[in-house]
């Protein structure tokens, strides 16, 4: 019998500590402090990087030892370590238990009907105002009633001998704000778990013109997509006259069971999603030793136009003319050297691609001109002929981040609920107002004395202003009445 009781007591005290805000404060401190470690020690990095970091603090000889201790403590992948995750779990339990403990009481406060209050009680409220009016009791009451109604209060009345009381409350649900925020935190956790459990994060590089039906995760394990994705082209555009990239983009085509089902030009911040799998533009690069095609748009004033795909050394004719061209050189990044005034290639990556074309036409000497992709006006030839360098195709790949995260919807829902909950917690308050109206002196003679009192859970200054406004409104209305 006694044993049972002891057991119950222990369980009860565990429950009580799990429900306590002290524990919450403690956990928040631990989470804040321990998170710092993970921002100093580089997470999931090569051992050498962190050893050299630790050497700065502990010296070269101790660094490897300290490193090994840190590995044991899980610091190298801290946010997934058993103890950090345990704290998050404890945090969630604390949140749930605490809310279960408190919600019924809060609910009672919200549901409790408001009661009239003695005048002395009203006078001891945090916010109180007194005014005197020359009018009759029921007029004053009507005016206050209307003013409160206009401020969206639902007014109740209680009448006594020689006095009337109006009382009202608003915003009781604001007391639920905190619980809404707490629930949203749990929702975000659930969404995160769903994402880790049923989703994946992967990467894949697709060369221009290439197709893939798999992506690769962090451990280079291939993950089948269930459909295939082709990269038609990859392109970097730049801001005018500087080498700051303006946009990275790729045209992707999705084939499901051999059929084209989707086509989109993706950019950073504008991914493609198919069957829950999303492809993000994340990197790009040159394919080693690739030989590509020069894509040229050639046209003449006669209106004839053609898009040509040519290899290095190949020739073409501008349609409607006798002008012949031959591709003789290519530069990934052409510029004129400031000192030597020579044309040089200043970068290996395709920052400012340019193609050199040797032109030939009857009755004129051969000449060679550079045409730059970023400056289409360099392709304006004599007699209105044009050669536009569209792309050097087939030499770059697009780097795609591939992610499936079925939990993200839940996380976003949690975020939305959190925003609502925070708004309710901080910007809406539970306000109560009592208005005690009584006639001073003997029957129907003396002035009317009005005592207005109120309490609020938040934003007291705004509440005081609101009450002042209501009083001002009623005084005005009374004046209006007395003039009539």
């Amino acid at each position: 019998m006694e044993k049972e009781e002891k057991k119950r007591n222990i369980l009860e005290s565990i429950w009580k500590s799990l429900a306590s805000v002290k524990l919450a404060i403690f956990i928040l401190m631990i989470l804040a402090l321990s998170s710092i470690i993970g921002t100093i020690v580089e997470q999931q990095a090569e051992p050498a990087r962190n050893i050299s970091l630790l050497a700065k603090f502990f010296g070269d000889s101790f660094a490897p030892t300290v490193y090994n201790i840190f590995v044991k403590l899980g610091f190298m992948d801290m946010y997934r370590s058993w103890w950090f995750v345990s704290f998050l779990v404890l945090f969630s339990i604390n949140l749930v238990v605490c809310s279960i403990e408190r919600l019924p009481k809060t609910w009672k406060i919200i549901k409790k009907p408001l009661k009239p209050m003695a005048q002395s009680g009203i006078k001891s409220l945090p916010v109180k105002k007194e005014i005197k009016l020359q009018a009759n009791l029921s007029d004053v009451k009507d005016v206050f009633h209307t003013a409160l109604k206009e401020s969206r209060y639902n007014v109740f009345e209680a009448a006594e001998e020689g006095s009337i009381q109006l009382y009202t409350q608003r915003g009781g649900f604001a007391r639920l704000g905190a619980y809404i925020v707490h629930i949203s935190i749990l929702l975000i956790f659930i969404g995160a778990i769903v994402g880790v459990r049923y989703g994946f994060k992967a990467h894949v590089n697709i060369p221009e013109g290439g197709t893939t039906s798999v992506a690769y995760d962090n451990n280079r394990k291939s993950i089948p997509l269930g459909f295939s994705v082709k990269c038609n082209w990859y392109d970097t555009t730049y801001y005018p006259d500087i080498d700051t990239p303006q946009e990275f983009s790729s045209e992707l085509v999705v084939y499901d069971q051999g059929k084209e089902v989707m086509k989109k030009v993706i950019e950073v911040n504008s991914p493609l999603t198919y069957k829950g799998i999303t492809f993000y533009q994340s990197s790009y690069g040159k394919i080693p030793d690739a030989v590509g095609h020069f894509v040229l748009d050639v046209s003449s004033p006669s209106g004839q136009e053609k898009t040509l795909w040519l290899r290095h050394g190949e020739s073409f004719v501008i349609p409607g003319t006798e002008v012949k061209g031959r591709i003789v050189d290519f530069s990934t990044a052409l510029t004129r050297d400031r000192h030597s005034n020579q044309l040089i290639t200043y970068s290996d990556s395709m920052v400012n691609p340019a193609v050199a074309i040797e032109f030939e036409e009857p009755g004129r000497e051969k000449y060679t001109g550079w045409i730059l992709k970023r400056y289409p006006e360099t392709g304006n030839l004599m007699n209105g002929n044009k050669v536009i360098f569209k792309d050097y195709w087939g030499v770059e790949y697009t780097g795609l981040q591939v992610a499936k995260d079925p939990g993200v919807g839940i996380v976003y829902l949690g975020c939305l609920i959190m925003a609502v909950g925070l708004y309710i917690s901080f910007f809406i308050s539970h306000k109560k107002i009592w208005v005690y109206i009584t006639q001073e002196g003997s029957k129907g003679k003396g002035p009317i004395s009005v005592t207005v009192g109120g309490s609020t859970t938040k934003n007291r200054i705004t509440f005081e202003q609101e009450i002042d406004k209501i009083i001002a409104k009623t005084s005005q209305a009374m004046e209006g009445r007395s003039k009539k």
């Binding site: 998170s35 303006q246 911040n269 991914p271």
Partner: protein
């Protein structure tokens, strides 16, 4: 006049306002107080004009690079919140807005002496950190409305936290009974470190060549004093710093008398501190954490990666959540919560600057 010149002009007014507020604190001459407010307002107006000019410049630049862009898109993409320089300017602007609101709503002028130093410090930081003042085109990852709202709301939140910090530090001095109190020592150290870091950066700035200044934050932070390669300089700097903190501890107590002579009460400071956090916390949650996560997800497919910048904003968030719970349900009052408000703002500064100064991460964004 270019926007950068106008910003300098407004900085000049803010510094003048700061000095006038301090004189007002000491003399309690009403006219001086009015002058301080006037200087602040003039500075604020010129800063607002500068902000608008910069926006207009950015707008025409964006349109020249993107002729097909619509009006709304061009306006959003050219909002002057693109780099460290612009975001700090915006921070100062928000800080001054809050300060003016408090001055007119609570009718207390003397808080200005605690808020304008923060604005002045941020402006000084902009100057000595040698951040680029040029209008920079947006790299692809930054071309996102989510990012824009993220930066915009975060900085309003940071400014609110800054006001709470000002009120909390004034509070801590006011309620101090003796110099040996832990909270007073804490206050002296924090204020001391603030000033030392700023002065140290000033010295760095003066001793660097202009080409080195552009990489100042990454390579030269406090290198000419506390982190000097020459052992002697470093030791002397440390000694001077410690003596300086001692001096603040010794003489800071005088501030208490000054505040007591004014109409300020600890109760009002406490209320301003809470109010500011009650505004800052939801804004920071929505702007700093939620919109930041949405942006990251739309750019990289990961809403949370635990990179140092994200983690530090989470730490900041934990500290302020701690503040709210300690205050409302934990029964903490007075000095203890004021200390939390100070710690919270230190976390804010570290989130914004420390991560770029000391740690590096995915968000190389703030470092330019």
């Amino acid at each position: 006049m270019s926007s950068a010149n106008l910003f300098d002009l407004s900085a000049g007014f803010y510094f003048a306002a700061l000095i006038t507020y301090v004189i007002y604190l000491v003399t309690r001459n009403k006219k001086t107080g009015v002058a301080a407010t006037t200087l602040t307002i003039v500075g604020f107006v010129s800063q607002t004009i500068a902000f608008a000019l910069r926006w207009i410049h950015g707008y025409s630049y964006w349109l020249s690079a993107n002729p097909t862009s619509g009006l709304i898109e061009a306006l959003l993409r050219s909002a002057p919140l693109r780099n460290l320089y612009e975001s700090l300017i915006f921070f100062v602007w928000c800080l001054i807005v809050f300060h003016l609101v408090i001055e007119f709503k609570y009718k207390i002028r003397s808080l200005g002496a605690f808020v304008t130093p923060l604005a002045a410090a941020a402006l000084l930081f902009i100057d000595v950190a040698g951040t680029t003042t040029e209008i920079q085109p947006l790299i692809p990852a930054l071309q996102s409305n989510w990012l824009l709202f993220h930066v915009f709301l975060s900085f309003i939140g940071y400014a609110a936290f800054g006001v709470a910090f000002g009120a909390a530090s004034a509070y801590l001095v006011m309620v101090t009974e003796s110099k040996t109190e832990k909270t007073y020592i804490f206050w002296s150290i924090i204020v001391g470190i603030f000033i030392i870091v700023l002065v140290g950066m000033g010295i760095d700035f003066v001793s660097l060549s202009s080409s080195e200044r552009s990489q100042f934050l990454q390579n030269h932070f406090l290198k000419s004093t506390l982190r000097s390669d020459s052992g002697g300089v470093a030791v002397v700097s440390w000694i001077v710093s410690i003596v300086f903190i001692g001096a603040i501890w010794q003489f800071g107590f005088g501030l208490k008398k000054v505040l007591e002579n004014l109409s300020i009460t600890p109760r009002v400071l406490d209320e301003i501190q809470y109010k500011s956090i009650a505004i800052g916390f939801p804004l920071f949650t929505l702007g700093g954490l939620i919109m930041g996560a949405i942006w990251a997800n739309s750019a990289w497919g990961k809403y949370w990666t635990w990179d140092p910048k994200e983690t530090w904003s989470l730490i900041t968030w934990f500290v302020y959540a701690l503040y709210l719970h300690a205050r409302f349900v934990g029964g903490w009052r007075g000095k203890r919560v004021a200390v939390l408000a100070v710690v919270g703002f230190i976390a804010v500064i570290f989130t914004y600057l420390g991560v770029n100064l000391v740690l590096s991460g995915l968000h190389s964004y703030g470092a330019s």
